[in-house]
Symmetry: D2
Subunit: 166 residues, 4 copies
């Protein structure tokens, strides 16, 4: 998953771009995350998507500690998961996160999870988020956090143009 | 939420139906289900939907013990949640489950969760399921479990006709 | 589990006491609480002990909402569990809580969990707690919450005298 | 934490020992592991102790996959936790595991958890385990798994002699 950071003001036709690369978030399946069917309980994937989202924001330079220090909350509005293949205790899953859409208010993220053991796709999912202040009032990123607004808009734009997924 | 059980072979125009009523599944929010934002962590709703689904199947006469004794598994293929209002420690949520669609293979359930305190809608969601035997091979309900097949088909049909939600 | 509430100022030798009875806290094992061994994962019992503790405090008239409104926190200092028999999905466990010791600072609770199906003992456990204000400073119950102090002291005394467990 | 592996049959007075070093198990606190008090919920430490135990067994060469392939289960008989200092979202905890006692039947492990941020002790704990076959019958390690028996006995002996904790 690559993100090409445009050198704004330069000639894009010459393809001079810096590449911003996101590392997938990887973690092992814990024993207590399995259920009596012998496989990972489906609710845990929602938690791993959160782990990956937090890691993704940190890679962007907008970790939760920074968001929190700025009084910026980002609650989950919706979650969507399509389970493709089960995982088991001690499997390692790798999760890639991308910004699917952002136009200033709602952040729409997508997730792709694979099993490191065999490269099989485990799950695809999406989450939607808004931005609130600590009094739970909506925050306009463009006005109050233009830097974060710009990076999210750009990631969404790049994805639309097919540039941030290899 | 009512389900009208048709007296098959009788004159439906006379509206002679038995009513099958499903009780919503209610439960309180536990302390350990809250997170540092002070509200219920969003992943727990997925678990409560499972609790409600299991209770719904029991009300149908197809509890997990019966499914299990018959060697019938029903894994989750997808989950979808739209969070409308947060809940807090000691709130009580009530969950209604309905069969949205079933045509013999995939079972498509829908959920509506309200906060008992104020009647506000907390969440709407859906899950999709298939039926497998203990070797994880697909099971054709119509052939192997015609009784369960019929009840699910009828619930789906009634919902389509607007009869199983008051 | 009975608690005899002394009629203070009356003749105890005539055994005139009001009985305060605590209902055990009962709940079913959820599917997501099992693990790949097919039984309840041991970590969940710690959570159920918390559920039972909160219920016990409510029966005492000191529910978490009241404690919270008063700015009184009661964190866990230690947990101890002896597992005697495993439980399974859909089993119902019943938990009795008693005050083992309280002399004004540390609250020492004990738990006894049985399986409703067969009455077998599932677990015995203890927890220790202190009382803090919202700035995490120790609170002297005797001075600031004499009513709660008295009820906890009395429960501990009655237990020592063998009166609050039938 | 060091474990000196004796060169059996050699002159110990010359201190010729191989050193077996165990790496502590480290992991970050997840958002969903916090509760409304703003700190890690106490039940999660029990799960982290399991994560550390599994990692410890892997370092010993007796990972769960190997135990499982041999049909060897090791359920938890008791858990004991003393909480010393709370942890928060994004803190990293490091857990050291040691064999406190083993004489062929019950395995008695101890845990020490520190906060990587400041080195403060977060928790000390113990767990007790037995060994069962897949029919839940007790297994005599000495007879059936002498290699595992010996390593556990030696670790317990070394700890008693103060050699496996730096």
């Amino acid at each position: 998953m690559h993100l090409y950071m445009h050198d704004r003001g330069h000639d894009l036709s010459r393809h001079r771009r810096k590449t911003m690369e996101f590392k997938p978030y990887c973690r092992k399946v814990h024993y207590y995350e399995t259920d009596k069917m012998g496989i990972t309980h489906h609710s845990n994937y929602i938690r791993w998507m959160e782990e990956a989202r937090i890691d993704f924001l940190e890679q962007l330079g907008w970790g939760f500690d920074r968001l929190e220090a700025l009084g910026l909350l980002s609650p989950v509005l919706s979650v969507n998961c399509c389970y493709q293949e089960s995982t088991r205790f001690r499997d390692e899953v790798c999760i890639r996160v991308a910004v699917r859409e952002f136009r200033g208010v709602k952040l729409f993220l997508e997730y792709e999870m694979t099993n490191a053991k065999n490269g099989h796709q485990v799950l695809t999912g999406t989450t939607q988020h808004c931005f609130l202040d600590t009094s739970f009032r909506p925050v306009r990123l463009k006005k109050e956090f233009p830097e974060l607004n710009e990076i999210l808009c750009r990631l969404a734009k790049d994805r639309a143009e097919g540039r941030n997924l290899e």
